[in-house]
């Protein structure tokens, strides 16, 4: 997915000379084509994320569209105050891109797990929070991000994620994409974990349980309509996110459901409120924490029982 992102960005940058990349010495093997083609629109700030974000804001204030880019929490939490006070408060055209949301950098450890970012970034006024589920979404989200005026948080996958969508998609910020329909239950995912949610729905389908699967690629602004429709038309909602259980997708969906006064069966599948110090690869850790398709299917079954 990160390669798809970089390819799309480069394509857009060829047509849009406002685009500048502002980095903090991360991106080896991915960002070189941009750096070589547009050396005067490429800045490596060194390992200095606060400055990276401030510099990007300063450039954006002069009319540039700036992409800050790094892995996991580095371009978000390390420089959160610059994102809040400089970028978001001034409503500047800075696009904050992380590679490796959630537990993507599994064995590297807690410092490289981005597991609170959705909650934190969605609390910032004027910041779009977007977590593409597959490569097709990632490409479309790159275009949507650049076309959008203002701060944008883009949570990118790390490797060759499987395709969630079979056909072409209509990607719009704030508009969820229905992967498949069903009336027994709705499973809402965000980001690359949505593929496992869909796999769980396939398992359930074999048992006669029809699940609606929704890719909620934009967590902010969230698609209230899709959530309310799911609450009214199906037998319950299960959210799936590779994120701490506090304040992420599940929280955002629950806010909509509760405010709409819809008492429904509801379950959040997320990481427990802890630091993942257990050592393991991405896939292994996901299985460990209950994100295997079988485990997701079991949780759904339990909710409906």
């Amino acid at each position: 997915m990160r390669s798809a992102f970089n390819e799309e960005l480069l394509k857009i940058a060829r047509k849009d000379d406002r685009i500048h990349m502002v980095l903090a010495d991360i991106g080896y093997g991915e960002i070189e084509p941009f750096a070589e083609e547009f050396p005067d629109r490429f800045y490596n700030c060194g390992v200095a994320e606060q400055n990276m974000t401030g510099v990007a804001c300063g450039l954006a204030m002069e009319g540039k569209v700036c992409v800050t880019y790094s892995i996991a929490n580095f371009p978000t939490l390390r420089c959160l105050e610059q994102i809040r006070n400089d970028v978001c408060y001034h409503n500047q055209n800075v696009k904050i891109v992380i590679i490796g949301g959630g537990l993507a950098y599994g064995s590297l450890g807690v410092s490289h797990h981005s597991t609170e970012d959705i909650a934190i970034m969605r609390a910032l006024p004027d910041c779009i929070v977007c977590c593409p589920a597959d490569i097709q979404e990632a490409r479309a989200a790159t275009h949507a991000m650049i076309a959008h005026e203002g701060p944008f948080y883009y949570r990118c996958g790390y490797k060759q994620e499987p395709d969630l969508h079979q056909g072409k998609i209509d990607f719009q910020i704030g508009k969820a994409i229905q992967v498949c329909d069903g009336s027994d239950v709705t499973v809402i995912g965000t980001g690359t974990i949505t593929y496992r949610a869909w796999q769980a729905a396939e398992i359930l389908a074999d048992e006669g349980i029809e699940a609606r699967v929704i890719s909620m690629h934009t967590v902010k602004p969230i698609d209230r309509e899709a959530i309310i429709a799911a609450a009214r038309e199906t037998g319950g909602i299960v959210t799936v996110e590779e994120h701490n259980i506090c304040g992420g997708l599940g929280g955002a969906v629950a806010e909509v459901v509760a405010e709409a006064g819809l008492g429904i069966r509801f379950k959040m599948i997320a990481l427990p409120d802890t630091y993942v110090h257990i050592v393991g690869t991405h896939e292994w850790l996901l299985d460990y924490y209950g994100f295997s398709p079988q485990a997701i299917a079991a949780t759904v079954r339990e909710l409906l029982a």
Binding site: V22, D40, R41, Y43, C45, G46, A48, Q50, N51, T53, G54, V55, A56, C57, G58, L59, A60, M61, E62, G63, K64, C66, E81, Q82, N85, D86, Y89, H90
Partner: protein
């Protein structure tokens, strides 16, 4: 009063300012100080000392140094001025009011309910480039603006005024390194070097000395001036960039709360404001009669 010549060791070339200009600068600086006293008194708000230490530099900056237009504050070719020490924003509001960027009445609403001006500088005020308030934010943004000007081949300059506390922040030093790396000679850092911080004197917090050599080693060209001497301020600001291909840094030696004798150089003046009696006394010292 004639401006005195500049010390040899400041590196600032000798240039005598005419009496008329000196008088005008003195009057403007006094007005800024009086506004700050009244605003903080009315708002029962802090940071008076930080405002008064930079008042003389504000007077010079907005009297011909900064290319800005009160009638068109967003004019593209303007020089950008970023106040990184946002807690002293009232000093900027005061000069903006005096120069016609904002109505003078706005100053009377500073810090008050439904007021026009908040305690830390806000870009929602015409003439204010950037909002700050947490230290260490100004210089990175100034670097970004300077990079943009270079990229676009534009001639405007970016001035960033910082406090001692700003220089404690790692982000400021990140920006210092990047400014030198990119040879940003359209960038000017100014430190209001009053050496009094929130909890104590600089020597008891984080000593910056030897300050100028540090900055020089980081690739900037540095001048140290008396931040209350109009001639020195004007000369230094008129001669930027000090060296082609390098960003310029001005260490302006100042006195915290300059102009209010009993609060000068005190930690109390960082957070404190004056009471009713002190306000009269302070305005008297400034030679301003309060109605």
């Amino acid at each position: 009063m004639a401006a005195r010549a500049i010390d040899d060791d400041t590196g600032v070339s000798e240039q005598i300012m005419d009496d008329e200009k000196l008088q005008a600068l003195g009057e403007l600086a006094t007005k800024i100080r009086a506004h700050c006293l009244r605003m903080t008194h009315r708002g029962r708000s802090g940071h008076l000392g930080s405002m008064l230490s930079m008042a003389d530099m504000m007077a010079v900056l907005y009297s011909g140094i900064l290319k800005v237009d009160p009638a068109n504050p967003d004019w593209y070719e303007r020089d950008r001025f970023i106040l990184s020490k946002g807690h002293a924003g009232a000093a900027v509001y005061a000069v903006l009011a005096e120069k016609g960027f904002i109505p003078g009445e706005w100053l009377e609403t500073y810090y008050l309910d439904d007021g026009k001006l908040c305690g830390h500088i806000s870009h929602h005020v015409p003439g204010v480039e950037f909002s700050t308030g947490s230290l260490g934010h100004g210089l990175p943004v100034a670097v970004g603006m300077a990079l943009a000007a270079k990229h676009d081949g534009k001639g405007h300059r970016i001035f960033c005024m910082m406090s001692d506390g700003d220089c404690n922040e790692g982000s400021t030093w990140e920006a210092i390194m990047m400014g030198a790396q990119h040879k940003l000679d359209n960038l000017v850092g100014i430190v209001d070097y009053n050496r009094v911080q929130a909890l104590g004197k600089m020597q008891d917090v984080i000593e910056m000395e030897p300050f100028a050599p540090k900055l020089e080693l980081f690739g900037w060209t540095v001048r140290t001036i008396d931040g209350h001497d109009f001639q020195q301020i004007e000369t230094a600001l008129s001669e930027v960039p000090f060296e082609k291909g390098k960003p310029s840094w001005i260490i302006a030696r100042t006195t915290k709360c300059r102009g209010v004798s009993w609060l000068e150089d005190t930690v109390r003046s960082h957070y404190g404001c004056v009471n009713d009696e002190e306000l009269c006394q302070a305005l008297n010292e400034l030679g301003v009669c309060d109605e």
